[in-house]
């Protein structure tokens, strides 16, 4: 599959004097679907937030398409990235949040149109057509003029996905996107993600507690524990025959629920 679209190397992250991530090395290939599992507080969210440029690593490098995300060259020296540098790179990354973060003052079609309309000198009509198509794709074609407050949690999350997809990212990050939903709404959101995964060309990193789902769609699962990737492998191997004791414990706790 060629060179990685995302590469983490020796990534450390601390908040104050708490070391949250202690040396993360990770390659994501173009189109690869990776599920990130692990106990709460193990640093899953932090890993993907650094790629979305919402959090800066304490040390180490992240490459996106071979380009250094958090550092840039200036007069022959590596210096921390400025806004412009981050802006140029993060167009390849999209993110769906646990709590949707839709813009409440806009209709859902406006939510989807905003960024592409601002980003390029696109024709507004063309952007609108695309936005409507995207909302149809997530099953909300009849709701385009509603406001986020008028939707259920599952519908909001599908809008959030449509909005992120409008930017045509090469890597999409999902941070426990079903954990704020009522149980009966989880299925409709997972269904949309499953369809996206089948389309194939977009890489995905999914932080999730839905083990069956991970087993189903992921090419690879990473088990994060106490700031390191403790174990990784294809889902059939990792979930069925976990090697480390910690992963065994973690999975046992899940199966009990």
């Amino acid at each position: 599959m060629g060179k990685p679209i995302v590469n983490y190397s020796k990534i450390h992250k601390s908040f104050g004097d708490v070391d949250v991530l202690k040396g993360i090395n990770l390659d994501i290939k173009p189109g690869e679907k990776v599920a990130l599992i692990g106990p709460s507080g193990s640093g899953k969210t932090t890993i993907i937030r650094m790629l979305m440029t919402l959090e800066q690593p304490t040390s180490g490098t992240i490459l996106v398409n071979g380009e250094n995300l958090w550092q840039m060259e200036k007069k022959g020296q590596l210096v921390p990235s400025d806004d412009k540098h981050l802006h140029a790179i993060r167009g390849d990354i999209g993110m769906v949040f646990q709590h949707f973060n839709l813009f409440p003052h806009m209709t859902i079609v406006e939510n989807c149109m905003l960024a592409p309309a601002l980003a390029k000198k696109n024709d507004k009509k063309e952007v609108k057509i695309q936005a409507v198509e995207m909302l149809e794709k997530v099953g909300l074609g009849d709701k385009i003029n509603l406001y986020p407050a008028q939707l259920s949690g599952g519908q909001k999350q599908r809008v959030a996905m449509a909005r992120a997809l409008m930017m045509k990212p090469k890597v999409m990050l999902f941070d426990e996107v079903t954990s704020a939903l009522d149980p009966e709404l989880v299925g409709e959101v997972l269904e949309v993600i499953r369809d996206l995964a089948k389309e194939g060309e977009m890489a995905m990193i999914l932080v999730t507690h839905e083990m069956d789902f991970a087993l189903d769609i992921a090419d690879r699962i990473l088990f994060l524990n106490e700031g390191v990737i403790e174990e990784e492998g294809p889902p059939s191997e990792l979930l069925v025959n976990p090697k480390s004791e910690r992963l065994q414990d973690f999975l046992a706790r899940f199966n009990k629920r």
């Binding site: 949707f100 973060n101 406001y147 407050a149």
Partner: protein
């Protein structure tokens, strides 16, 4: 003394003229305060700790000293300051003095509005690769400002009632006119009553309007009130 209806009706048109000056001055001061209020918000966000700290203290200082002192300073003391001192016309001095004073209050209103916007809104804007300017103009301010409109309105009314302070540096508006009339005719009660009535006539309906706005904006993003179905 006896109440003289003749005087009362005689001063109404006279003071009515002053009313327009008072209203004009209020609007000018308020516009200045609204714009300058953003200045304080902006400088408080400058990454340099020292600079933002200095400006925070200047704003704090302006907020905690009486506006009358500031008016006197700008009008009487500033012209005597070497190099930067200039003599200002009373109207301009009033706009600067009262506008500056209230800008520090409005900046607090803006700040509270901005802080009330969920952190996730910033993060989603970053994830969609919006520029800093786009984040502010399209996402943050459109959510931060509407809920503060009632508070902003309250400050407009408070400012309207503070504007007579400008008569102390010679701005001839309602109060000043009433006072002059009183001095000439030795009749103070009627003209000052008219002034009070005019203030009441404007302040009270404005206050009602603001409480209406308050209800409207509190419901703004609610399901039921959105009619664009």
């Amino acid at each position: 003394m006896t109440w003289d209806w003749g005087v009362f009706f005689e001063v109404i048109p006279l003071i009515f003229k002053g009313l327009w000056i008072t209203i004009g001055l209020t609007i000018a001061c308020y516009l200045f305060a609204m714009i300058f209020g953003f200045f304080w918000v902006f400088v408080a966000r400058i990454p340099s700790k020292t600079i933002s700290w200095i400006f925070r203290w200047i704003a704090e200082f302006i907020r905690s000293t009486p506006p009358l002192v500031q008016l006197f300073f700008i009008f009487y003391a500033w012209p005597m300051v070497p190099v930067v001192g200039v003599t200002l016309n009373p109207f301009v001095a009033a706009i600067l003095g009262l506008g500056l004073h209230f800008s520090t209050y409005l900046s607090e209103v803006y700040r509270s509005g901005i802080e009330s916007v969920d952190k996730g809104q910033w993060e989603a804007s970053t994830a969609l690769n919006l520029s800093t300017k786009q984040k502010w103009l399209k996402i943050i301010l459109p959510q931060a400002i509407p809920p503060t409109i009632p508070m902003l309105g309250n400050y407009l009314i408070i400012m309207f009632k503070e504007v007579p302070l400008a008569s102390t540096i010679g701005v001839v508006a309602m109060l000043h006119m009433a006072n002059d009339y009183g001095a000439q005719h030795w009749k103070y009660v009627e003209p000052l009553t008219v002034v009070a009535l005019f203030f009441l006539l404007l302040s009270y309906p404005s206050a009602l309007l603001i409480s209406k706005l308050e209800k409207k904006y509190n419901r703004r993003f609610d399901k039921k009130t959105i009619s664009t179905l």
